[in-house]
């Protein structure tokens, strides 16, 4: 029977699964919201991915879990932190990568990867979700647009508004007061992206930017955020075809190595 490997990334916001064949090709992947129940989300996402690959659970040779709820995955063979997994996934697709920026729902992480592709240093945001995917969702809510619309809007900004508060609660009231002043939604959207980009740039500064830079995590799917970050960091961000599954992909690659 050919070897099949799986990685499961139980993030604070979304759970992602990637299944690989023996040649490290992606057979299937699955993304869903974690909700309040990590173990249930893990099971549901895993069955989803198994189903689309037409596989059964006992055909999986090795399963690595990662992410916030990694220890809640009772059916995994081992667990590894998402820092190592995102670095591993990014390295596989972009062999020369030196910096990985993962912005997820609750955490943003900047990881320095050495010449051998090993994560050698990292920084994480502080406890709160300011400047992450969840923050963006709240801001989109305040603007009454979807995340896609918010990104689209930011490309049409004319003015130079600023959102200076980084606390999600304060930033939301700041956005509402800008709306009340009649500021264009497009300008506010652009200001929100710039404010997060400032924060991430501060985080990157703690490690020092070493190119090439790969961006992973769900927020890499937000073109408004990507553009703002590229402008602030003055660099081009390399983005995998599906950045949100990079943690699960890295976990699956580690699963393949572990079973070797």
């Amino acid at each position: 029977m050919p070897e099949i490997y799986a990685g499961i990334d139980v993030g604070s916001l979304c759970t992602k699964v990637v299944i690989l064949d023996a040649g490290r090709n992606v057979l299937s992947s699955h993304i869903l919201r974690s909700g309040g129940h990590y173990q249930g989300a893990a099971e549901a996402a895993f069955s989803g991915a198994l189903e689309s690959a037409g596989l059964r659970i006992k055909e999986i040779s090795f399963l690595v879990s990662t992410g916030y709820g990694r220890a809640r995955v009772t059916f995994s063979d081992t667990h590894v932190t998402e820092i190592t997994c995102h670095a591993r996934g990014a390295k596989h697709l972009f062999p020369h990568v030196h910096t990985v920026i993962d912005i997820g729902g609750q955490d943003s992480k900047v990881i320095y990867v050495n010449d051998e592709g090993r994560p050698k240093n990292f920084v994480m945001n502080d406890k709160c979700a300011a400047g992450t995917g969840r923050f963006l969702e709240v801001m989109a809510g305040a603007l009454e647009v979807s995340l896609q619309e918010m990104a689209e809007l930011s490309f049409h900004a004319q003015g130079e508004s600023e959102v200076s508060n980084m606390c999600t609660v304060f930033a939301e009231s700041e956005v509402i007061s800008l709306l009340a002043q009649g500021t264009e939604k497009a300008d506010i959207a652009a200001a929100i992206f710039r404010s997060i980009a400032r924060r991430i740039t501060g985080l990157v500064g703690k490690l020092g930017l070493k190119e090439p830079v790969v961006m992973t995590g769900g927020v890499a799917k937000n073109p408004g955020m990507v553009r703002a970050l590229e402008e602030k960091l003055r660099t081009t961000l390399l983005i995998p075809p599906e950045p949100q599954i990079m943690g699960a992909y890295g976990a699956a690659l580690i699963a393949a190595e572990q079973s070797d």
């Binding site: 916030y68 932190t81 820092i83 190592t84 090993r118 994560p119 050698k120 240093n121 990292f122 406890k127």
Partner: protein, 376 residues
């Protein structure tokens, strides 16, 4: 031995009750000292019983009417405890100009909850020129006179020498315990070690010494699981004890703390006071020349980062866990440079913030686990 450890944990988790109990028994006046650089020996030689001020065992509430929420846990705790009346167990308090936050304390305490004796000392930050020694000695002499006045007892040279000898003896025993841990990582849990050191700050050394002797005799009999652990050292953590759950997490994630240079730890006992010459000068000398490089001192001849690089090498440690007290300006000021020097020497380092309030441990766990993955 378990009984000794219980006694130690009880004292450090509730110093208020513990201190009141031995104070009642010994009938001594108790003086709380601001941590880090005050010479406890001087207080002791005046016939008083010094203790080192500690971080409170409950959330800061009333204190926030007097002190910023962005002060460190220790200064907020001391103010909070003072205005809540929890420091009534102390007959006196000595503060000094350790940092900007510490400078505010005597005013707030004096205004809201003055103890019978409140003294403020100047201890110079810069230490490299002779003038600072003169200045420090002058301040130590003033402190001596003020302590004598409060205790009603003249301090003889001999009494001070005896106090110094007693304190050196206690420091020596703590060093022996640390040596035991270096020989057998895991023999003494990180939180046990810190509790042991802190308990010595909260009770008479005369009574702490027998506890240490008991531990030194008994601890080696423990069985230690032989699993392979990453060898790490702790750095920083000025003035206060880190939360114990943070220390447990470090060990749970597969690290063994083999040594530390934190204040409630190695910094407290690292160097002795010389027992020859003038005792007051010897106390001054210890502060000026015999401490681990400290961010509250200005000493460009002795760089903290370089010191750490050497020390980590000697310990054959695989990494450094920096404990940075949240809102501690002195440490924050030095930290970027220390971090850079460690990185240049290829020494892995991870920083954890030490907070008074409960922190989200899961995020800290991810940091620590990733750190272990990095250094393995």
């Amino acid at each position: 031995m378990e009984q000794t450890l219980n006694q130690i944990f009880n004292l450090v988790t509730d110093p208020y009750t513990g201190i009141a109990a031995w104070k009642e028994r010994l009938q001594k006046k108790v003086v709380g000292c601001m941590p880090m650089h005050l010479p406890e020996e001087l207080v002791h030689a005046a016939g008083l019983q010094p203790v080192v001020l500690w971080r409170s065992n409950e959330p800061v509430t009333l204190g926030h009417a007097h002190v910023y929420t962005f002060n460190c846990g220790l200064t907020r705790s001391v103010v909070d405890d003072a205005v809540k009346g929890k420091l009534a167990v102390l007959d006196g308090i000595i503060t000094y100009d350790l940092c900007l936050q510490a400078r505010e304390l005597p005013f707030i305490i004096n205004r809201n909850a003055p103890p019978a004796y409140l003294e403020t000392v100047y201890i110079p930050g810069p230490v490299t020129a002779p003038v600072y020694k003169d200045f420090l000695l002058e301040n130590f002499r003033n402190l001596k006179a003020s302590l004598e006045k409060f205790s009603g007892q003249t301090m003889t040279q001999d009494a001070l020498r005896q106090s110094i000898a007693l304190y050196n003896r206690q420091r020596g025993l703590l060093r022996q315990l640390y040596a035991l841990r270096r020989q057998t990582p895991g023999l003494i849990r990180a939180k046990e070690m810190l509790a042991i050191v802190q308990s010595g700050m909260l009770m008479p050394k005369e009574e702490h010494i027998p506890l240490l002797e008991n531990l030194i005799a008994e601890l080696p009999k423990r069985t230690v699981s032989s699993g392979k652990k990453a060898r790490v050292v702790l750095s920083g953590c000025m003035c206060q004890t880190p939360r114990f759950d943070l220390l447990d997490l470090i060990e749970e994630e597969g690290m063994a703390v083999i040594d530390d240079e934190i204040y409630v730890g190695g910094r407290y006992f690292f160097h002795d006071v010389a027992e020859t010459g003038d005792p007051l000068e010897a106390l001054a000398e210890r502060y000026l020349n015999r401490t681990i490089p400290c961010p509250t001192k200005v000493d460009w001849t002795n760089h903290w980062g370089d010191y750490l690089v050497d020390w980590v090498g000697q310990q054959k440690a695989q990494g450094v866990v920096t404990l940075l007290v949240k809102f501690c300006p002195p440490h924050l000021c030095y930290y970027p440079d220390v971090k850079k020097r460690l990185a240049n020497a290829n020494i892995p380092e991870v920083m954890l913030e030490v907070e008074h309030e409960v922190v989200s441990l899961e995020q800290v766990r991810t940091r620590l686990q990733a750190f272990v993955e990095e250094i393995r």
